[in-house]
Subunit: 401 residues, 2 copies
Amino acid sequence: MTVEQAQREVLSRVQPLGSETVGISCALYRTLAVPITCDLDYPPFDRSVMDGFAVRSADVRETPVTLRVVGQIPAGQITTQRLGAGEAMQINTGAAIPSGADAVVRVEVTEPVDDGRSVLISESVSTGKFISRRGAHAQAGDVALKAGTLITPSEIAVATTAGGAELTVYCRPKVAVLATGNELVDVDTTPVGAQIRNSNQYSLCDLIRTSQADPVSLGTVGDDRDALRAKIEEGLEDDVLCITGGISMGAFDFVPEVLEQCGVTFHVRKMSIKPGRPTIFGTTNRGTLVFALPGNPVSAFVGFEVLVRPALSALCGRSHIERPVKAILDGKLTATTNRRSYFPVSVHIDDDGAMVAKPLSWGGSGDPVGMGGADGFATRAAESPGAVEGDRVDVLLFGRW
Amino acid sequence: MTVEQAQREVLSRVQPLGSETVGISCALYRTLAVPITCDLDYPPFDRSVMDGFAVRSADVRETPVTLRVVGQIPAGQITTQRLGAGEAMQINTGAAIPSGADAVVRVEVTEPVDDGRSVLISESVSTGKFISRRGAHAQAGDVALKAGTLITPSEIAVATTAGGAELTVYCRPKVAVLATGNELVDVDTTPVGAQIRNSNQYSLCDLIRTSQADPVSLGTVGDDRDALRAKIEEGLEDDVLCITGGISMGAFDFVPEVLEQCGVTFHVRKMSIKPGRPTIFGTTNRGTLVFALPGNPVSAFVGFEVLVRPALSALCGRSHIERPVKAILDGKLTATTNRRSYFPVSVHIDDDGAMVAKPLSWGGSGDPVGMGGADGFATRAAESPGAVEGDRVDVLLFGRW
């Protein structure tokens, strides 16, 4: 099964979770479940976009000209005073245009006269100049932000302006994380004999955090059917269960059989990728999504990026899958086998603004140390020739929020 | 002053904050203040990288050959049994190689014989095949992660493997945020007369969160010297103070004079950019960084991205400034004046993996609604001609963590 086929198997089975209401201060990187509509025109009144003087454009057709300063309009105030012929009012950026005025002259082209009782204007302005009209940017009832919009600081500015003190957003998925293997010990333990530390537990939890989901760590379980079953049943209570290890061809790889005993139906059993081939995707009757990833840390990373992250985005109400971006290769990649291959790379922007991908020196899928500095995977189709410095290659960047 | 000059003025005055120790589960997107060193070799023992059979390569030089299966080695166990001539042991990925064995045969090229008491091997292997030697990926004492490293899920895998249960990282900056202006009301209030909602307060707080810093909201203060002074003195207690509004040429723009009364020395007073020219950077004797940004929402965004974000990165121990990336323009940009200009754009990756920047229809720097969907700013040097569809333009992407 190709990656694209596997992704379709996953996304065809994912519905966004329910929604909840959050204050605007807690909405960063959430996804809108309900559109935000402007409650007022914006701007809500005709206002000046410059510091200067509100005038009648007819009075400044010929310049230089001196006008009487009959008032001052600070931002936030509506003046009842009407501007008459030969008059000007000092006005600040954002302040309301007084009735009678139809343009603003920038302070830079003016000079106070007679202690500021008058102003000498050296530049004429056309009607409407430096005035932002009521409703110029949005009208009451306009949809300011559509459902499905990811909330970044840009959208926060929009939502605030539209009066969105509270936003209805999709819930964050709860993702249970379970690492399997008799060889695993926790990070604070010193491995002895044939033990290694359980790195997947921590890297997966943070990969999940970068997917706007909440990890629920189930810790580590040995290669024991009963203990495995108990943990899996616990994990199936959440929206998603991610397991690492125990899915290969080893004599102690019990995960697939125990998942089936727990009522998980498999839709992806193997993918034509390297590393990560044995990756499993399944579902339960109550709709829990189950991903069983290889125990090798790099393989688990690949499985997460190609299947789990897109699934979590869809659960959060976002439909699109991050596309690989083209980058210039700063190094070499080996030719690929009959499977699409993934190579950890660091990425930076060069002086010309081009994205440059540098292959990391890693010791294969079992080498977590080689992942240090990885920003993504360079990915090459099956049966591709080797790639050399300067080639343009596809890079799947890791999500960054 | 150019943007580059202003950035030098800022960065030459920024030192990383102190450090603190956090558990590995809380280290995502923090910056290492102290390197992480491997406490053990990795792998810590010679191990199999395949599921199959541990053998003596000499025994399988000629194939097919049948070997006696004298044991089974699950991951996590050291077997004391020594492999003799003509013998094989079943072994799983990650399990320790038994003494006497010098290669692993993949299970795919084997067949059980005599109820599994023997195994028929159809492929010969060279010495060391499918064995990952102790210390192949890292040796005890190696620096696994350097100081200054940003911790992403990739580095979490490294840190865990190296035994980094706790990491010493730079502290997160505390950034006070103060919006000024008589015209401002809060998001949950309906503006009347010449009022507008205070969008900068919320968008700046989230821009700060995306910079790995903690915003401290000081709310809104009117154009009143004494009230302004009280709020500014409160904000100067934090690592950074960000003010919006009150810095232009209006009759009520008191911020610069009050900042000076509070002992702030200015290093940047104006920048040759559009929008955002009046942006101010200053410092106090105790080292607080002060940024006074224009009140117009888009201008405040530009000031944040070009000066504040680099400063916050440096406070967090990261030295580099994000470089603009080249993107293909999907739309038009107007010619620039004598100032470098910034245009809000949305960005996506096209089918060829190229970054495409689409200018947003915005109503100028006073239009927060026009920021919706902005992923960055297309930026053009002073005196640049207009840009048209298909041109390659520089895009400053907003930070995403």
